[in-house]
Subunit: 334 residues, 2 copies
Amino acid sequence: MSTIRDVSKQAGLSIATVSRALSTPEKVSPESLKRVQAAIEKLQYRPNMLSQKFRYNSANSIVVLVPNIANLFFSTVISGIENVAQKRGFNVLLGDTRDSMQREQEFVHLVETRQADGLIQLRPYKANNSLLPKAHVTAVNASGCENTPYPTVRIDNVAAAQEVMRYLISLGHKRIGMISGLKDNPHAIDRMRGYKAALAEAGIEFDPALVTEGDFTLWSGLNASGHFSRMPTPPTALFCMNDEMAIGAIKGLKSKGFRVPEDISVTGFDDLEFAKYSDPALTTIAQPAGKIGEKAAELLFQLLDGTHEGSTEFVLPYEFVIRQSTGPAPQQQN
Amino acid sequence: MSTIRDVSKQAGLSIATVSRALSTPEKVSPESLKRVQAAIEKLQYRPNMLSQKFRYNSANSIVVLVPNIANLFFSTVISGIENVAQKRGFNVLLGDTRDSMQREQEFVHLVETRQADGLIQLRPYKANNSLLPKAHVTAVNASGCENTPYPTVRIDNVAAAQEVMRYLISLGHKRIGMISGLKDNPHAIDRMRGYKAALAEAGIEFDPALVTEGDFTLWSGLNASGHFSRMPTPPTALFCMNDEMAIGAIKGLKSKGFRVPEDISVTGFDDLEFAKYSDPALTTIAQPAGKIGEKAAELLFQLLDGTHEGSTEFVLPYEFVIRQSTGPAPQQQN
DNA sequence: CTGTTAGCGCATTCAC
DNA sequence: GTGAATGCGCTAACAG
């Protein structure tokens, strides 16, 4: 591997001139420029970015902490982050944490040790969980939730859940089951609030028996659906906290002889590509996953540049998409 | 940000001793060690890895080139790569190329400029497309295909496709349609060979009218299914080159009044998590996506270490998973 | 066991 | 427009 020194020798010029030829060619005479270029070509010289990073004390990379990369919602957010990082000439370091705090800590360490300049966290933070502030690490939480002290980009989960519930209620549903995420998941907490708010609004009493816990996977949705199908009077609608669980639940319900939506309506959350192709196609909340990623990255760069002003909380619009998995409440159930 | 020099001053020791305390504590007296630790604690010192990387001329990272990160197959492979990179203390740089050669080139550049030590390509290479060899870049192709000059980890696509086809033929199917990937996609080429081989074996003539081209997306599968449903005598089975297209096709066929598998059998390829939850559940080839990633990473590290011996082509076993989307050919069609 | 010294590759002074 | 000299933070070789 040739260095800038080799190039300078080959060109018969000083290191400084070669360096200038690379960064500010207008400050170098055409003649020298040509010789430098020839030398570079001949030696197949490539500047050692490791050295540049060291000198500038800037890694030109950001790390993205993701609980599980093989999750379509997250990977779409990452796509958005990549988009703007690419434009800024930044690399994206992938931190697949698998919900392990230890792994997460290791990736935060990358920023502390300057291997990355900043961090985007895709996992929603719990209020008490303050991994970041003890280190001076520039960070943004994408897909964040309310009441966190971190700069955050999110949608209004409470309102979105409430909107879905209002729609179900408007279709005549009164017994509406829910497949929640883990109880301490901040998204689960927010969406639960929307669920309860809509019930209260409609004068329907909250029934804990209608709530069952999943973990946002297909399997947990399938599993949870069993709880409902075994009830003497099953709910007529099921509000699922994400699309995977909704699709899993539909699978389970159908196998038990339920028709969706004739016997039971099912709603999701996220609007994965697969939601359209589910049978029946899923009524769901479309989160602007790509946009969330882009906005989070933009915010992070502003923070890094010190050019950010104003609020550090961005609430992006969601969209309620009505498809075929929801219908009027069956008459006999009233 | 404090440096090792600050720590040495604070501890009243030389820089070298501090450095040793960090890397080889057994070579430092307990007394000094304690003072170093105290100084580090007080100053909140963190070693600057940028400097270490520079000195060792090793970035301790690998880049993964992926055509589309929001694709479940790829993200599962990446998960596998992450697994072994993590163990080796390497970072994974994400290169979402979006099928753009320019973007791909930029990521290869990361290796040329030492920002990464090696590269794993998830896109299958065409025989003529030699992006890598002109640069001296250590690389492995995961999900590769036959006859490439690069170290590669793959499954036997020809045999897998042939096995699926044999199964369909054994069920009595004679008119078997295919939803292919883009014609010049190496995977498409290999799987097509398997398709044709099975037909030839069974004495069934190849009919180009039964082949339609998709691009591995859900939508293209849905779209392609229209081609078949409009035929005067549609095929009784459909071999799709991946699960997404199969799921899209099933959606399309059902909407046209076809029953799967009673009227038409459908098979996929990959065995995404969603394949189980499709209705009907998909008969498909299970690629060991995670394993492919792990093996590719292991191979890359061996190459980087110079400890690799023997073949640079690994063919991993696949599994043929029979679910409910396939059944006997309908009688009336014979 | 500890300290002094040199140098990794590059960009940037400051002279000329 | 150009070159010589300096230093970024760290480790390794050497000397004590």
